[in-house]
Symmetry: C2
Subunit: 213 residues, 2 copies
């Protein structure tokens, strides 16, 4: 299948949504926990969470603007400046997916989708008790992407909770043991199997690679 | 394991790099193909490729600045304003990983790591022949992230090449059939197995979810 810019523009809308949401490859499935000024907890699945840097430890994620449609996650992050990122476990993929339904302002996805809010003392955003890796962030920047009117939300890690048994002595995670989940497109969920792990790549230690085509 | 902001700051540098690069979950493994003004092809593995929007079809990726150290990918994107994103297949994970070694200015990772450059007529950036999903982009914006002095590279899709057999009638990809690859942290590679796929989430069709904890 070959498509150029014009072909893509002329695709059926849903087909285009699926294709363009699939072409970056696997995406991480994370639940974003926030709370409104009125104390209503919100939980939403995001597949755009991305590592920005390790020192300071920064994470990015993307949101549409909240001008035309209410975006509870973005509104809550703006008003409290804290939010949590929680990995979705394989067994919770379906529940996590349904947090994307349009609930009313006074309904919490925690309750509707069977997740349990959990708090750290002195930190306002709810974590997901069922999650294996939980990150508490503080908002650092909201960067407008003018090309399509979206926003990059930049957060710094203030709290990090991970089970000891999935972190090795070098700080590397075992995503299989963690029962982690990835998404392709808008609604296809995947588990992981480790293929291999390689050392830091040095030119002097380069293996001899043969072309396969 | 619980770490707060201060604990993270005081971690050993390599351990911190591994932990903070792992905590966002699975990341897509993609090879970025570019060419310099002098015609030298460059290929580099990136795990920060992210979907930004479907109409116009935009993809983001992050780069450190090229002020202190030469970053061939960023330099080439700036000078030609075109670049390709190519999915890494499971069998090519090792070769792809080694594109991150520091080669000299006149050495091409295509040759050193056993990949074959491939061109579309009238488009200057090289695709990876061995890749299953190939995307040709045009640079649209370079957005500075001031919090840690990195850059968000925003590109629009001009060309898209995917094998027919991995795209279903709705435009959804089969990442297992595609033999796609994900990365955790800096050097652990994963393959995928499909768990499930769910319909567009509507509140009216919400299943009854029971809490598991």
């Amino acid at each position: 299948m070959y498509l150029n810019k014009n072909d893509i523009k002329n695709l059926d809308r849903i087909y285009r949504l699926n294709v363009i949401n699939s072409i970056t490859g696997i995406k991480p499935a994370n639940l974003i926990g926030t709370v409104s000024g009125e104390g209503i907890e919100n939980l939403a699945i995001f597949s755009s969470v991305v590592h920005l840097g390790s020192n300071p430890p920064l994470i990015g994620m993307f949101s549409r603007p909240d001008k035309e449609v209410r975006r509870h996650t973005l509104e809550n992050i703006k008003s409290n400046e804290v939010y949590t990122i929680n990995h979705v476990k394989k067994d919770h993929a379906k529940q996590a997916h349904y947090t994307s339904a349009k609930f009313d302002d006074d309904e919490s996805e925690f309750e509707k989708c069977g997740f349990t809010p959990e708090y750290l003392e002195g930190y306002a955003a709810p974590f997901v008790k069922e999650s294996s890796c939980k990150i508490g962030l503080g908002l650092r920047d909201l960067i407008p992407i003018r090309t399509n009117n979206t926003l990059l939300i930049v957060g710094e890690i203030l709290h990090l909770i991970v089970p000891d048994e999935i972190v090795d002595e070098k700080g590397q995670f075992d995503l299989t043991k963690m029962e982690g989940t990835g998404v392709s497109g808008l609604n296809v969920y995947y588990g992981f199997e480790k293929i291999n792990q390689f050392p830091y790549a040095r030119k002097e230690e380069l293996p001899e690679f043969k072309k396969s085509v």
